[in-house]
């Protein structure tokens, strides 16, 4: 088991290094790269040369990359071109917001998706099943930023059920410990802040959950359908086992493996969707940071760091998913 983890982590490192090298080389060989972005197109050659020297772009690309990696390993990702702040600080501020949103969305998607998928399979071909399938198809066909605007328009403007944007009400005096506002409130016993943050969280989380929810419902349904036809389920029923036992121990446990895989893969969809959802609800996370870094004159150090971070999160989650197989299904030998 330990060997497996070590080997997978090594693979992860290789993937990240390859990705960073790819981005690094690409960024520095672009027409209108960082230098143009900083100075504009009409800068004098002297100023450009100065900046190129200051940024170290006059050195061979391998040397540049070596220096870059050296700094990365010491936790220095450079400074943001736009604001001048260290990239690590900028990211540390935005990261918890996105993770909080993504976790909330995943809780909704799994909490709703697995039972719905199970019920749809159980009542296959009936009204509930048909409605569920129609719903999932609509869910994957709707542009989620449009859904976000729609929900926002109806639920915050027409009837004031939810706050329209932001992570917490202005004037709410909350102490930040971890950056996860809901958790912070609980830790510091400021329960009103926690409740307020949760209230702000619901609508963006629902919006972001749409696509993972639809996918999880479909996979659960298909997987449960497969298991329902198995002999051991019929045997369990023939033995007269209680319904709950059959459902929990025989059907769901066996049907769960593909679902867990999907949950891992949907992390990617969550990170993608977060960029759109955050813009709709003005949620100050990584998604907002990415949009700002691009539209406000390509802030490459920030962009590069976000991309590497997203890849790291995605690969790590999928590693955890792979490792969890052994716990869900003892027959699986993780290799």
């Amino acid at each position: 088991m330990l060997r497996v983890i070590v080997r997978r982590l090594l693979q992860l490192v290789v993937t990240l290094i390859a990705l960073s090298a790819l981005i690094f080389v690409w960024l520095r060989n672009l027409p209108g790269g960082p230098v143009e972005a900083l100075l504009g197109e009409r800068a004098t050659p002297e100023r450009r040369a100065l900046l190129i020297k200051a940024l170290g772009y006059d050195q061979p690309i391998l040397v540049q990359y070596g220096k870059f990696m050296q700094r990365v390993l010491t936790g220095d990702l450079g400074n943001s071109i736009r604001t001048g702040d260290p990239v690590t600080d900028v990211i540390a501020r935005a990261f918890p917001a996105t993770i909080e949103l993504a976790i909330a969305a995943m809780i909704i998607a799994v909490g709703l998706g697995v039972p719905l998928g199970y019920l749809a399979a159980r009542y296959r071909g009936r009204l509930l099943d048909n409605l569920t399938i129609a719903g999932t198809l609509l869910g994957i066909s709707i542009p989620i930023f449009f859904l976000g605007y729609l929900l926002k328009d109806v639920l915050t403007q027409d009837i004031h059920w939810f706050p329209p944007s932001g992570r917490i009400s202005t004037g709410m005096d909350n102490t930040s410990v971890t950056g996860f506002y809901v958790l912070d409130g609980l830790l510091t016993r400021e329960f009103d802040a926690s409740a307020d943050a949760l209230w702000h969280l619901i609508l963006p989380a629902v919006t972001l959950a749409t696509i993972p929810l639809a996918v999880i419902v479909r996979i659960t349904r298909a997987s449960v359908l497969d298991v329902l036809n198995e002999d051991y389920v019929r045997t369990a029923e023939a033995k007269g086992l209680r319904h709950r036992t059959i459902r929990g121990r025989h059907i769901l446990r066996n049907a769960l493996l593909p679902v867990v895989t999907t949950i891992g893969l949907q992390t990617g969809a969550l990170l993608s969707g977060a960029v759109l959802t955050e813009k709709v609800y003005n949620w100050g996370g990584l998604g907002t940071l990415i949009t700002d870094s691009i539209s406000g004159g390509r802030d490459y150090p920030v962009l590069q760091a976000i991309i590497l971070l997203a890849a790291l999160v995605f690969v790590l989650v999928n590693l955890l998913v792979d490792l969890s197989y052994a716990f869900i299904d003892p027959r699986v030998r993780v290799r």
Partner: protein, 360 residues
């Protein structure tokens, strides 16, 4: 099919042409016409001897049995199941209508999509965009152009973006996957590592990165970015299918017969993998137009203000004027949802139809 004589390898081997089975003393031999019509190849056939004749008769039977209309090919079977599936029909109708509208857009649209009308621009203010009027059933867009015509012409651009992005993604992906699957070994390892790196990035983030890396965005950067996202999916799909086939019986048979490696890949392995690729392409189309809309929404889309494309209309004007006139978002969004739904339905139905598990 139940007739034993039509089944290969079973029954009487001499049900073929009787003349060839009895070389000597056959009355047809004496006919001059028969002699003259004979090609050298036929003469050579005759000298096969008893065992050879027997083998040939069996092969002929085999050929006849496979050409037998009683047998149903996988494709015909899949097509039959598709035609019976209401989901597939709904999907196909939506896709068909969409393509028709796109083709005949200039004939259907009442006005020029880029022309600005005085009677519409006159009523444009900061917080009001004119709705339906006599000549303009969908009203105006933020620049005083006929919204209905822009919607109709939008189908063209949307189809263009979707098809081109899907085709580019498919071509590159199939190329990578085929090379990896055909060669195996270190080529496979290197190429699959590359797709792993691409898959390690969430799809929209990858698209955003690609657009951001171009110095300025245009329609082409959007198409390119959306296309690249689908490359690793196609590559993986094709490679898996090719690898599965490398050890399969028909490839082994071809190799044993001495078919060139290149022909094995191109003629035997690739065609067998293409069905899955076509299904995936149908599904990719839906994702492509949704992703293109998302890029426009993020301000990374096509900057051409004359271009009428649904994703662009929804992502830019729809977002900017949502409070003023939500229809500017509703109509393009509805169009995108319906078309994406159509392609998804068709793709899913096709996938179900070609899955041998579902054969009845």
């Amino acid at each position: 099919m139940t007739d034993p004589t039509t089944r290969p390898g079973v029954g009487k081997p001499r049900t073929g042409d009787t003349p060839t089975d009895q070389p000597a003393g056959n009355p047809t031999e004496d006919r001059p016409a028969g002699q003259a019509g004979e090609t050298p190849a036929q003469r050579r056939e005759r000298s096969l001897g008893r065992l050879g004749d027997r083998k040939r008769a069996r092969l002929d039977e085999l050929a006849r049995a496979t050409a037998d209309p009683g047998g149903v090919s996988l494709y015909r079977d899949a097509l039959r199941r598709l035609r019976r599936n209401p989901v597939a029909i709904v999907g196909a109708v939506i896709v068909g209508l969409f393509v028709l509208v796109a083709i005949f857009a200039p004939l259907i649209a009442p006005h020029d999509p880029v022309q600005r009308f005085d009677e519409l621009t006159r009523d444009l203010t900061v917080d009001s965009i004119p709705g339906a009027t006599a000549g303009h059933p969908f009203g105006s867009d933020p620049l005083g152009r006929d919204f209905l015509s822009r919607m109709i012409h939008g189908s063209r651009q949307t189809l263009f973006v979707g098809v081109l992005a899907t085709l580019i993604g498919l071509t590159l992906g199939v190329l990578l996957g085929a090379i990896a699957g055909a060669f195996g070994g270190w080529v496979d390892v290197v190429l699959m590592r590359l797709t792993d790196v691409m898959l390690a990035l969430p799809s929209l983030l990858l698209a955003i990165t690609l657009v951001a890396m171009a110095s300025r965005s245009s329609q082409w950067t959007v198409i390119f970015a959306v296309a690249i996202v689908s490359v690793p999916i196609f590559a993986r799909l094709l490679r898996g299918s090719m690898l599965a086939q490398r050890e399969s019986d028909h490839v082994l048979a071809a190799r044993a017969l001495g078919v060139k490696e290149r022909n094995i890949v191109l003629r035997h392995m690739l065609p067998n993998s293409l069905t899955a690729v076509i299904v995936q392409a149908t599904l990719t189309f839906a994702v492509a137009i949704l992703d293109a809309a998302a890029l426009s929404f993020l301000g990374l889309g096509d900057p051409d203000i004359n271009r009428a494309e649904w994703g662009l209309m929804l992502g830019v004007d729809g977002q900017r004027y949502f409070e003023v006139r939500p229809e500017l978002a509703y109509y393009p969004a509805l169009a995108i949802i319906v078309v994406a739904l159509g392609f998804t339905l068709l793709g899913e139905a096709m996938r179900e139809a070609i899955d041998p598990k579902n054969r009845r």
